[in-house]
């Protein structure tokens, strides 16, 4: 996106005809329809019309990079993982095309290509398995259970039912509740904006002349550093709120100088 000019140049040199653009868009516009780069790669691999085990990963990488390139031309936003995959495939392509540099670390291009082919074949295998599974006769659709389970009258035992989900949700409920607890206890050294606002609203009536903001800190909040910090912040934000509402004025003579406030005179 940063190099718009370069893209524009390319656009002019190999300008796509309208129909080409439409065709490219038709392929790409549906990018949301793919479940990630692996899904897209699998779709692209189908165009090679060969057994997935004999697929050319190099061709596939070229196809994928072409796809990404077209998307960029068409200014289609691609999710980050598509771009990560593109970068990786560009790397793989160079590994497959160039002889390995002496002393180079890491797996060879062939190994990486073989694994990608394995992943594609496995994903295709699972898709096929999923389709076969769903094509099976299913309970409640193709075959049926007893419509009138015998009403069995109770004799002595009461059984209580609870599912694992009940149990887990019950536990989650308690844990969540308890994890909030220390947060609540912490609040005795935190002054909230609401508290500060309420207090300042009451006090502002007396601030006819410029007064230092720090003098408004309530008793008990002036010495302990964490309480003082919280009260100062809350009071400051509260003065901004009141200034915005037109109830008071704020001034500061220079950077880091004391902040002073004053009631807006009715006149």
């Amino acid at each position: 996106m940063a190099d718009n000019d370069i893209e524009n140049d390319e656009f002019q040199t190999d300008a796509l005809s309208v129909s080409d653009r439409m065709a490219a868009e038709a392929l790409i516009i549906d990018v949301d329809g793919y479940e990630g780069p692996l899904d897209l790669l699998l779709t692209l691999s189908r165009t090679q019309k060969v057994d997935l085990r004999k697929i050319s990963v190099l061709d596939l990488a070229v196809q994928y990079l072409g796809f990404i390139e077209k998307a960029r031309h068409l200014r289609i936003e691609l999710a980050a993982d598509y771009l990560v995959m593109a970068a990786w495939l560009a790397f793989l392509k160079s590994r497959l095309l160039l002889p390995p540099e002496p002393g180079e670390e890491g797996p060879s291009g062939e190994e990486l290509a073989a694994h990608l082919a394995f992943q594609l074949e496995r994903l295709a295998g699972m898709r096929d398995a999923a389709a076969r599974l769903m094509a099976r006769d299913q309970k409640g659709r193709d075959f049926f259970v007893r419509g009138i389970p015998e009403d069995i009258t109770r004799r002595r035992r009461v059984s209580y039912s609870a599912t694992l989900i009940d149990l887990m949700q019950g536990y989650a409920r308690i844990r969540t509740k308890d994890e909030f607890r220390p947060f609540v206890m912490d609040r005795n050294s935190i002054m909230t904006l609401d508290e500060a606002l309420e207090r300042l609203r009451g006090l502002i009536g007396y601030a006819g002349t410029w007064t230092d903001l720090t003098s408004y800190l309530p008793d008990g909040w002036q010495t302990d550093p964490s309480r003082r910090r919280s009260a100062t912040a809350a009071n400051f934000v509260a003065t901004l709120e009141l200034a915005k509402a037109g109830a008071l004025e704020i001034r500061q003579s220079e950077t880091f100088a004391p902040i002073q406030i004053r009631k807006v005179s009715d006149g």
């Binding site: 069995i152 009461v158 039912s161 009940d166 969540t176 947060f183």
Partner: protein, 221 residues
């Protein structure tokens, strides 16, 4: 049976749609009576079976077939149903279990025992923030989901609770260690809000088991 008696269909239709053989009709009636949630009338059967079928005859065959078996064909008003043979009623009584929904207090208590075992009553109360009623513990013991564990080596030597094999069977777990942790509950969508970061307040009196470390450590080897 002559098809003309049943239907007003003209002869052409009859030749096109022949009724299935009676054995097949018997299968159909059997399946429909089995799956239906109420007794089925002959008219209903007829309406659902292929053109030209004779459910009454199929029923007669089926009734004979079930003669002396563990189930039998019974007539309920003008409808039919499959029922277990009355002399085998004693087998059904074993299953005589009234199922009730476990109360929220019991679910939570059980969950705490499962996740924190061995755990004392005081610890359960600390985690839930309310006292544990005697009835709740009794109920869980009666249900054979929890049992007494070893006494805690702390003052007062309180008893602890642990979950049983029966508990694992009921909830389809291979071991209590397989209970998912908070993170996994959240990942599965079972936990709505994300709590603010912060430690789980430690349980008092925890001796060797350090609960503060969190779920995964708790069941670590």
């Amino acid at each position: 049976m002559d098809k003309d008696d049943n239907n007003n269909g003209d002869s052409q239709e009859e030749s096109l749609f022949e009724a299935p053989p009676i054995g097949e009709q018997e299968r159909m009636v059997e399946a429909m009576l089995f799956a239906s949630d109420a007794p089925v009338s002959v008219a209903d059967l007829s309406a659902r079976m292929p053109h030209g079928s004779d459910p009454a005859e199929a029923l007669a065959h089926l009734r004979k077939r079930y003669d002396g078996r563990g189930v039998r064909l019974v007539r309920v008003g003008d409808a039919w149903a499959i029922r277990t043979a009355p002399d085998l009623g004693f087998l059904m009584q074993k299953e005589t279990v009234e199922v009730r929904k476990l109360s929220r207090a019991a679910v939570e208590t059980l969950a705490i025992i499962a996740y924190h075992q061995p755990v004392t009553r005081a610890e359960i109360e600390e985690i839930r923030g309310v006292s544990v009623s005697r009835g709740t513990v009794d109920l869980l013991i009666e249900q054979e989901w929890i049992r007494f564990g070893r006494r805690r080596m702390t003052p007062g030597r309180p008893v602890t609770f642990v979950v049983t094999q029966e508990f694992l069977d009921h909830f389809g777990l291979e071991s209590a260690r397989d209970l998912p942790g908070l993170k996994e509950l959240r990942a599965a969508g079972l936990l709505e809000s994300r709590p603010p970061p912060g430690k789980f307040p430690g349980l008092s009196g925890g001796d060797d088991d350090e609960i503060d470390e969190g779920q995964s450590e708790l069941f670590g080897d």
